[in-house]
């Protein structure tokens, strides 16, 4: 069994020595894989996978492959890439030269509405606040997506696809937004492989 880490352009710079990585090329795309470990599913294994993908993305544009994607052998991996060649090539073009930044915004001590009218007022206020944060960021990002928040204290959970050389600009903007909204807490992490934008 082999495990898939990323899809990238072929040819590609030399692979880093972070794992026994192999390049499976088909035309102008290549899958980067390594022999699959048999240590089962665990948080550690997930982070090891992530570390490999991050080492790979330093030198190249890539579509990160979700942890746990396995094939019998290199031929099977090559066939799988071949079967979706056009979609994968298009998805790779979309993320070319960009990385993903993740943003979470919480409002500590968000008021708990007691009555109906204040519940709706809170919804409105949160919706406005969320827009005021998301829209300027989405405007400088190449693409943006939001995810449902687990609870009312979390205003925004978003991912932004950002050009590699615009990361500083975006984090600067986030610092400004934080300064302008002292009652909120903004947490930005990255740069990540473009997991949220890699759907082929």
């Amino acid at each position: 069994m082999i495990e898939l880490y990323a899809i990238t352009d072929h040819p590609t710079p030399p692979l880093p020595q972070v794992a026994p990585l192999r390049l499976v090329a088909t035309g102008d795309l290549a899958a980067i894989c390594a022999p699959a470990g048999d240590d089962g599913v665990s948080a550690d294994a997930l982070w090891r996978h992530e570390a490999v993908v991050e080492a790979l993305m330093e030198q190249r544009d890539l579509l990160p492959v979700r942890y746990g994607t396995r094939f019998d052998d290199e031929d099977a991996a090559a066939r799988a890439v071949e079967a979706r060649r056009d979609d994968l090539a298009m998805a790779l073009d979309r993320v070319r030269g960009a990385v993903e930044l993740s943003l979470r915004v919480i409002e500590p001590g968000a008021p708990q509405a007691g009555d109906g009218a204040s519940y709706l007022r809170d919804r409105r206020r949160q919706e406005d606040a969320r827009r005021a944060l998301h829209e300027p960021l989405a405007a400088v990002a190449r693409a943006a997506m939001t995810r449902p928040s687990p609870d009312r204290s979390e205003l925004l959970r978003a991912a932004y696809l950002v050009d590699r050389d615009a990361v500083e600009q975006v984090t600067g903007l986030i610092a400004q937004l934080q300064a302008a909204n002292p009652t909120l807490r903004l947490l930005c992490t990255g740069p990540w492989p473009a997991y949220s934008f890699a759907e082929a």
Binding site: A43, L46, R66, R123, M145, P148
Partner: protein
Amino acid sequence: MTDKLLHAPPDLDLFADDRPRLPDALSRRIDADPESVERGLAQLVLTIVELLRQLMERQALRRIDGGTLSDDQVERLGQTFMELDKRMEELRTEFGLEAEDLNLNLGPLGNLLDP
């Protein structure tokens, strides 16, 4: 992973409740186990209900902006949405679903609940 913090507030522990969910990282496949089929069905139904709830809530906010509702009507609407919101959360808990599970990836159209 501190090297991944691009911007963090001083009270970073506010975010610490974010337990990583391993199943998320694995591909979500339909599983033929009866219990997970039931959960999958609940997930689908609750996703649709959540979509409707959000649409109606936004519609209500627009009507309030329009100024055509009396204070009494606003209060009743608000109560209704507050109750719905609470009930949705209970149902989610009952089926072991997170907010993020109540979404559908519509491919090129993005996510169903992507406001």
